[in-house]
C-alpha cells in the first residue's frame, strides 16, 4: 500500500493572522502544520498499521506539500508522526495560485510519485485552517480521475475497497469506492498520535525531497497568480470590537442579560 498524504503549511490559528498586499502573510515564526492534516496522517498510518506484516513492510506513507521552503516544518511534523518520506514542491511560479492552481500542482506531484510506483490512496484533512475551503480533496480527485470519499468520520480499507461513513448537513452516508481513491478525513475520525522520542529522533535525520514545477508535468499558465481565476483585490482587518460589557452575577446576572438583549432589540 502506497499512500500520499497532502499536508499544508498554514499560519497558526493561535497567532495573529494577517494579510499584506492581499496575500496571507506566512511568517515562519508562526507557521505550522495544518492541524486537520494530523487527522489525515493518523488515518494513513492506521491504514498501513492494520495491514498484514508483509504488506505493511512493503508500504510507504509519503507526506507531500506545496509550499515555500518554510513549509518544511509541516513535513518535519509529519516525520515525527511516522511517515516515511516528505516531499516539498516549491516554485515562485506557484505563488498566488487559486484552488485550481494548487490542485494542479498537487495532482502533478502525485502523478510523479505514481511514475515510481502506484499510489493507492491520497489522503487529506477535511480543510485547511487558513482558507477553510474544503474543496481541494474533491478537485485533486477529479484531476487524477479517481473517486473522492470526503469528510470521513470512519475509515476502512478492505480488499482494495475504501469505505467511509460521513455526516453531511443532510444525511449520514456510508460510501465505498475501489482503490486508487482520494480520502479526506474529518477531525472526528481519530485522535492524532503524539510523536514519541524514537520518532522525533528519527525525524531529525530524514531528508526532505524538494521538487520544483519543472520536475512536474504542469501547465505553468494555469498556476500561480497569473493563472488564478479569482483574485483577492482587497483585504482589511475588521474594526476592533468595543470593550466587552462585563456583568458580575450577584443574583441578577440573568436579568442584566435579558435587559441587554431587550435594549438592543435582539429579542
Amino acid at each position: 500500500m502506497r499512500i500520499a498524504v497532502l499536508v499544508k503549511y498554514v499560519p497558526d490559528i493561535n497567532a495573529e493572522r494577517r494579510f499584506a498586499d492581499c496575500r496571507v502573510v506566512r511568517d515562519p515564526a508562526e507557521g505550522t502544520l495544518n492541524e486537520l492534516d494530523e487527522n489525515a496522517l493518523e488515518a494513513a498510518l492506521r491504514i498501513v498499521e492494520a495491514l498484514p506484516e508483509a504488506e505493511r513492510e512493503a508500504s510507504e506513507v509519503v507526506a507531500l506539500t506545496v509550499a515555500p521552503p518554510e513549509g518544511d516544518l509541516a513535513l518535519r511534523k509529519s516525520f515525527q508522526m511516522g511517515v516515511d518520506r516528505g516531499i516539498r514542491v516549491s516554485d515562485d511560479a506557484l505563488a498566488g495560485s487559486d484552488y485550481f492552481g494548487t490542485t494542479a500542482a498537487l495532482a502533478a506531484a502525485v502523478r510523479r510519485l505514481e511514475a515510481e510506483g502506484p499510489v493507492d490512496l491520497v489522503v487529506t484533512g477535511m480543510a485547511a485552517l487558513d482558507g477553510l475551503g474544503s474543496v481541494v480533496p474533491a478537485l485533486v480527485a477529479a484531476e487524477l480521475d479517481r473517486p473522492a470519499l470526503t469528510f470521513a468520520k470512519k475509515v476502512a480499507v478492505e480488499a482494495g475497497t475504501l469505505e467511509i461513513v460521513r455526516e453531511t448537513d443532510e444525511a449520514t452516508e456510508t460510501l465505498t469506492a475501489p482503490l486508487p481513491a482520494v480520502l479526506s478525513v474529518a477531525d472526528t475520525a481519530n485522535t492524532p498520535r503524539f510523536p514519541n522520542f524514537k520518532l522525533i529522533m528519527a525525524a531529525r535525520t530524514k531528508q526532505i525531497e524538494a521538487w520544483s514545477a519543472a520536475d512536474l508535468d504542469l501547465d505553468l499558465a494555469a498556476v500561480g497568480a497569473a493563472g488564478a481565476r479569482t483574485e483577492t483585490t482587497q483585504a482589511s482587518p475588521r474594526p476592533e470590537k468595543p470593550e466587552v460589557e462585563l456583568v458580575q452575577d450577584k443574583g441578577s446576572g440573568g436579568q442584566a442579560l435579558a435587559e441587554y438583549l431587550i435594549r438592543n432589540d435582539l429579542v
Binding site: I13, E167, R229, V247, D249
Partner: protein, 328 residues
C-alpha cells in the same frame, strides 16, 4: 438591494428540492440583484417549494434527468451535482452560479467550476459587481477578523454563499414557475452509496446554520442542556454546542471551524471557553454574548456583553424575563 444593471442569468442550486430553506431564499434574493434567476434541481420540487420559487421570482426550474446509475441516493453526491450545474450553465448560458455553503455544495460548486473553467469563491458573505461588471465577493476570513474582496476574472462565476448574508426578500410580484427537464451526463467517477439516512432535524427550532439567534452550550453545562434549551426557546433560537460537548454525547452538532459555521445576529455561548477553533465558527456573528463563571474566560475577548456567573442560574433567569417581555 439594487436592481441588476446587466442582463445576467443567475442559476441557484436547490438540493434537496423538497423545501426551500432560508439560505436558498437568500441566494434567490442575491441572484435577483445580479440578473434573471433560474433554479437547478436534481429532483422534482414539491408544491410548497414551487410556491416559494414563484414568490421569489424564479420563472424556470431546470430539473436534471439523470442516467439510472446516478439517480437515487447517488444524485446528491458532489460529482453528480457538479455535472448538473455545469450542464445547466451550458444550457442556459448562465453567468453566475450560486449555491449554499454546505460542505457538499462547496465540493459541487468547485467541481462545476473546474468543468466550466470558471472561477470559484467559497463562503462568500456578499456578492456584488464592480464597475467593469465583474462579479465581486466579500468574505470574512481568519475567524472573522479580516474582510477580503475576491474578484472573479472568468466569464462564469461560481460562488457558495454563507447563510445570513442578506435578509430574504420576495420579488415585487410572484411569477409563473415552470419546471423543465434537461439531460445530464456524469463523466466524473462517482462513489457507491451503500447507505444514506437523511438527518431528521428538530422541526420546532430553526436550523443551526441559518438561525438568526444561536444559543450554544459547552463543557460548562456539565451535560445538562436544560438551561441552554430554555433560553433558546424563549428567544426562538437554534441550539448549538462546543465540540467537547458533542464528544461527550450531550448534543449532536457543534459550532466551529470543523463543525457548523454560524453568523447570526446574536450568538450566546454558555459554559464555552472560546477556543480558537470554536471562535472560528462564530466570530462573524453580529452580537456575541457569553455566560461563564471564569472571569478570565477567553471568549470574553470577543464578546459585546457577558455575564460572569453560573449558567444554571443566569440562563433560566434571563429566559423568564424574556418570556415575560414577549407576553406583554
Amino acid at each position: 438591494m439594487a436592481e441588476a444593471t446587466r442582463n445576467r442569468t443567475v442559476l441557484v442550486l436547490l438540493d434537496p428540492a423538497t423545501e426551500v430553506r432560508s439560505s436558498v431564499l437568500e441566494l434567490l434574493t442575491i441572484a435577483r440583484s445580479l440578473g434573471r434567476v433560474e433554479a437547478v434541481t436534481l429532483e422534482a420540487p414539491t408544491v410548497e417549494a414551487l410556491a416559494q420559487l414563484s414568490a421569489f421570482g424564479v420563472e424556470t426550474v431546470h430539473q436534471a434527468e439523470l442516467a439510472p446509475a446516478t439517480q437515487g441516493d447517488a444524485r446528491h453526491l458532489a460529482p453528480v451535482v457538479a455535472a448538473t450545474l455545469a450542464a445547466a450553465v451550458r444550457l442556459t448560458d448562465a453567468d453566475v452560479v450560486l449555491a449554499p455553503s454546505s460542505f457538499a455544495a462547496k465540493e459541487a460548486a468547485a467541481l462545476a467550476a473546474r468543468e466550466l473553467g470558471a472561477g470559484v469563491v467559497i463562503d462568500a458573505a456578499s456578492v456584488t459587481e464592480d464597475g467593469d461588471g465583474r462579479v465581486v465577493a466579500g468574505k470574512r476570513v481568519f475567524a472573522g477578523s479580516w474582510d477580503t474582496t475576491s474578484t472573479v476574472r472568468t466569464e462564469v462565476a461560481v460562488l457558495t454563499v454563507r447563510a445570513n448574508a442578506v435578509v430574504p426578500q420576495p420579488a415585487d410580484a410572484a411569477v409563473a414557475t415552470e419546471v423543465e427537464g434537461f439531460a445530464v451526463a456524469v463523466d466524473g467517477v462517482v462513489p457507491t452509496v451503500v447507505e444514506r439516512t437523511p438527518t431528521v432535524r428538530d422541526s420546532d427550532r430553526p436550523t443551526l446554520e441559518e438561525a438568526a439567534v444561536v444559543v450554544a452550550g459547552g463543557r460548562g453545562t456539565g451535560g445538562d442542556f436544560g438551561p441552554v434549551n430554555e433560553l433558546a426557546d424563549a428567544l426562538g433560537a437554534a441550539v448549538g454546542a462546543s465540540r467537547d460537548a458533542v464528544f461527550e454525547g450531550w448534543f449532536d452538532r457543534y459550532v466551529g471551524q470543523t463543525g457548523v459555521t454560524v453568523a447570526p445576529r446574536l450568538y450566546i455561548g454558555a459554559g464555552i471557553s472560546g477556543a480558537p477553533h470554536h471562535r472560528g465558527g462564530m466570530q462573524a456573528s453580529q452580537v456575541v454574548v457569553a455566560v461563564n463563571n471564569d472571569p478570565e474566560a477567553p471568549i470574553f475577548e470577543i464578546c459585546d456583553f457577558a455575564v460572569v456567573g453560573d449558567l444554571t442560574e443566569v440562563l433560566p433567569q434571563a429566559a423568564a424575563i424574556i418570556r415575560a417581555h414577549k407576553d406583554q
